[in-house]
């Protein structure tokens, strides 16, 4: 299912160019140039961030990101002429996010809530201002952001939170479905009520 023909749901993906948007989803794409020490520090940061769930706990709780990634580009494969055989002097950090909500609100949340994390991830990049105040930081991102030429989401009508809640809901629906068959109406009424209490924040 793809909804490139009509907007999917309410307009919430604001503050960015149309080509970065598919329904509720926004693409952000930023390269930054890494200082020498970042080459050593960033792999360690990535290693521990990937293995200690607590470190991404707030990111997960903010709940507006579907997928994000940080990638260090140190060299590019050579494909022969006429590709210029360029030896990169610096490492470059590629960041992309697939999120929902407004661009401004997204960056604000990063700056205000994930202040330390932002400094950890971008502190070794040239030109990186501190996450706060937000205006210089926003203009840093804007200057370095590359607009997508084509962006796709498989479920443009959905937000990350909605998906996560829908998955929980689906799991909790299964036992009720299974048991409903052999319940009398009153037993079902009690089970249904307990189910609603349990999943009311997923609906």
């Amino acid at each position: 299912m793809s909804a490139h023909t009509a907007p999917a749901g309410p307009v919430t993906a604001t503050g960015t160019d149309a080509r970065n948007v598919d329904g509720q989803a926004i693409a952000i794409t930023v390269f930054s140039t890494v200082k020498w020490w970042g080459r050593l520090f960033l792999p360690l940061l990535f290693f521990f961030t990937a293995r200690i769930p607590k470190l991404t706990g707030t990111l997960a709780k903010l709940s507006f990101i579907h997928f994000a990634r940080w990638t260090i580009v140190k060299k590019l494969p050579y494909n022969g002429e006429p590709q210029v055989k360029q030896k990169l002097r610096y490492a470059h950090m590629y960041f992309e996010s697939n999120f929902n909500g407004g661009w401004e609100e997204y960056i604000d949340a990063f700056s205000h809530i994930l202040t330390r994390g932002m400094t950890a991830f971008w502190g070794s990049s040239y030109g990186f201002p501190k996450p706060l105040p937000t205006a210089p930081f926003k203009s840093y991102i804007q200057v370095n952001e590359i607009e997508a030429d084509h962006y796709y989401s498989a479920y443009p009508e959905a937000t990350s939170t909605m998906i996560q809640r829908a998955l929980v809901l689906d799991e909790k629906l299964a036992p009720l479905k299974r048991d409903a068959e052999r319940m009398d109406p009153d037993a079902f009424a009690a089970a249904y009520r307990a189910f609603l209490c349990d999943v009311q924040h997923c609906l």
């Binding site: 997928f67 610096y90 470059h92």
Partner: protein, 183 residues
């Protein structure tokens, strides 16, 4: 290439950067930007794709004041995708199920096999893959199919819970079984 950092749950974060043939940058950008106006995204043909993007990297950024210039020597096509399962079978699906668009896109790149198709194109994308440093997935355990099913069920359940309030217990149970019993 098989860095574990590309994987989060069962979701894979793929990225390839391929050099664009000099002089063909505009044609490639025009083609990619035009995809949206020509119906569903070709990426919809790859049912394991959660989210994906193409963009053309003009050059690496130059930080103000530092003059840390590091020219790429040409523009690069960047393709990233977050999908389910392993990269090898995904790229296989990409060159098979999205063959026309894949050929139209990567033929603009240096070193792309001619014709741009099949195993040769797949090997080309593999060769130009850049491994992730850290990939975050909010629901990396769930496949696209699972996400879509869950969203659909949620929508039906939201509709049901409003309606069901007006039903007597027996009727409610019947309606619930009818709506969700076989699903």
């Amino acid at each position: 290439m098989g860095s574990a950092a590309n994987v989060s749950g069962q979701a894979y974060a793929f990225m390839a950067m391929t050099p664009v043939k000099p002089g063909e940058e505009d044609a490639l950008a025009t083609y990619l930007r035009g995809l949206r106006g020509r119906g569903p995204s070709p990426l919809a043909k790859l049912p394991r794709t959660h989210m994906a993007r193409w963009l053309i990297v003009p050059d690496m950024p130059v930080a103000p004041r530092t003059h840390a210039r590091d020219p790429l020597g040409g523009q690069y096509l960047l393709f990233t995708s977050n999908f389910d399962g392993d990269v090898d079978s995904y790229l296989h699906e990409l060159v098979e199920l999205m063959a026309d668009e894949a050929a139209a896109i990567w033929s603009h790149c240096i070193g792309c096999p001619q014709p741009a198709e099949g195993a040769a194109l797949k090997a080309y994308l593999h060769r130009n893959q850049v491994d992730s440093g850290f990939a975050f997935a909010a629901y990396g355990h769930a496949s696209v199919a699972r996400v879509k099913t869950a969203l659909d069920k949620r929508a039906r359940l939201v509709d049901f819970v409003v309606r069901a309030q007006a039903m007597a217990p027996a009727e409610r149970r019947e309606a619930f079984l009818k709506e969700f019993g076989s699903a």
